[in-house]
Amino acid sequence: MSFGPHLFLALLEGTVTAFVLALMALGLSLVFGVMRIVNVAHGEFYMLGAVLAWACADAVGTPVAGFVVAMLVAPLAVGGLALAADRWILRRIDYHPESTIVATIGMLYMLQQAVLMLYGPDARPVAPPVYFVVQFPWFGYSGYKLVVAAASGLLVLATWMLVTRTRLGLYMRAAQQDLEMAQAYGVPARRVYALVFLLGAMLAAAAGVLIVPIEQAHYLMGLDPLLLSFIVVIIGGLGSLRGTLVAAFAVGLSDGIVSVFFSPTLAKIVATLLVAAVLVVRPGGLFGEERA
């Protein structure tokens, strides 16, 4: 294959990565923006989504029905877990930034090892719910990957509408700007926090369900997306949703190109160096709030 089609393939791969990454990073960014906490277990919510998708497909049998069931069950189950974590851990340490990080690292290891014990160390494939090949002049491309990109895009759009157009979104933005003032105006802060944490976890789980027919379900699969999401939110500016989306595309495309032409490991290293470059120019990230 010559350079042009090769680049096209890389861009295609990068675009799919970018959409999924946007979905992952949006949850992380939302949780940070509103609650001022960094959720290190975010990647494990994604991993749980993928593993539950395998379990649903295994239980149901047909790929389409399995996918539909997983799309309903996985986000709900993971969301329930997130609510429990919010209620029993995060609220009790009062969302203190550093304690929360330590606690979510603890959650990361507990979830990872629980899955290792119950599900085992194998990577297990899941059949895609729809299978078709988009034939380009130079190569055929998996149609399901484009479905993943479209579905991720829709979920990102839905979340965006939720934040900008609904009462809950208004509460979220109010809590983000000034928590005390928001509470004085009757914003139920505890409930908003719980819902935001739930939403972030559900988005990650949905991303996991979508991705599992492309990547196999494995108990360690949460780490790479977590790292990429962190890179995205730092480049975009912590807490800025617009920055998150812009950065997801920059990072997704560069990841796709470097992965296709060189290696996925090098792609992660390059992305980290990209962060270094951004931090030197703008310590708060591209769209970050200017704070001294």
């Binding site: 960094v38 290190v40 851990i89 330590v102 603890g106 290891y109 090892q113 014990m117 490991t265 980290t272």
Partner: protein, 312 residues
């Protein structure tokens, strides 16, 4: 106070004559890892900066010392020096960039760079031999000291060099804690704005703290490579950045002896648990959550609060 710390060192010295072989090596490991935790605590406990990528400094020391021995047959003292210099250089380079951010961003950036270095150690596996790692003992010449030839395979040499690394780190941490410099660092931890208002350049102090912390981590890494002979990329992984955090939290954040207590206790706990189940990280995770929920002061932090207010 000085008597307490000298007493601890003397006890560690005396311990080598009574310990059975298995625990003899374990305690040597614990002392080297405690130096790592001591360095971590300077950043977390005294400066208020939490790093999630400290394994990069440990690994810099480890590879900085291990690679020259393995490829060039460099002697142990020079290799140790190269390891320290690698850690210091990395800490300064990382600090100049990462300290531009603050709060949660610093945490994330440290995690990212730690992971980038880990991935780099896998990516360049022609040189580092990646996951598999390499053994340095065959290439390592014995230490010539006052006419005696001290081979690194001898348990007594291992133990006492480990003790030397630990003692030097302890002395450095204690001296820093008691100096005017240390007080400025504590000032930054308590209220950075106010410290700046008093005319201190907080950036430079934080960079200095990171440099000391990174160098101690590198000393532990270099010591670990030379004394226990194995260099591999597992020591650069995220888990190895989380361990010093766990040790320091357990022993007591911002105490001088806490890192030793936390490292020793957690070392034996993990050792016991992994004898029962291979999923011992489940225990590590539960310990992290339990500590922040119910025991945020750690062991020596609690002791200081209730009984010994003078404990540094």
């Amino acid at each position: 106070m000085l008597a307490l710390h000298l007493g601890v060192l003397a006890a560690l010295f005396a311990l080598q004559f009574v310990l059975p072989a298995y625990h003899h090596t374990n305690v040597a490991r614990i002392m080297v890892l405690s130096a790592y935790a001591l360095g971590y605590n300077i950043l977390l406990g005294y400066t208020g900066l939490m790093s999630l990528g400290h394994a990069m400094f440990f690994a810099a020391g480890m590879y900085g010392a291990g690679l020259p021995v393995y490829y060039l047959g460099v002697g142990a003292p020079a290799a140790f020096g190269i390891g320290l210099a690698s850690g210091l250089a990395l800490a300064l380079a990382f600090g100049l960039m990462a300290l531009r951010t603050s709060g949660p961003s610093f945490l994330i950036v440290s995690l990212m760079f730690g992971q980038a270095l880990f991935l780099a150690s896998l990516y360049f596996n022609d040189v580092t031999l990646g996951d598999q790692g390499f053994i340095v003992s065959e290439k390592l010449a014995p230490l010539e000291l006052a006419g005696a030839s001290l081979g690194f395979h001898q348990p007594a040499v291992k133990y006492n060099l480990a003790l030397a690394i630990f003692a030097a780190s302890l002395a450095a941490a204690l001296a820093l804690r008691l100096s005017a410099l240390g007080r400025v660092l504590v000032g930054i931890r308590e209220n950075e704005e106010r410290t700046r208002l008093l005319g201190y350049n907080s950036f430079l102090y934080k960079l200095g703290s990171l440099a000391v912390s990174g160098t101690l981590a590198a000393a532990a890494g270099a010591g670990y490579a030379l004394l226990f002979s194995y260099v591999g990329s597992t020591f650069a992984s995220i888990l190895f950045s989380i361990y010093p955090l766990l040790w320091v939290l357990l022993g007591g954040v911002g105490t001088i002896l806490g890192p030793l207590v936390g490292t020793a206790l957690m070392f034996y706990l993990v050792d016991t648990v992994s004898g029962v189940t291979s999923a011992y990280l489940l225990f590590v995770g539960a310990a992290l959550i339990a500590l922040v929920l119910w025991f945020p002061l750690g062991i020596l932090g609690a002791v200081r609060k209730r009984w010994l207010p003078w404990l540094p």
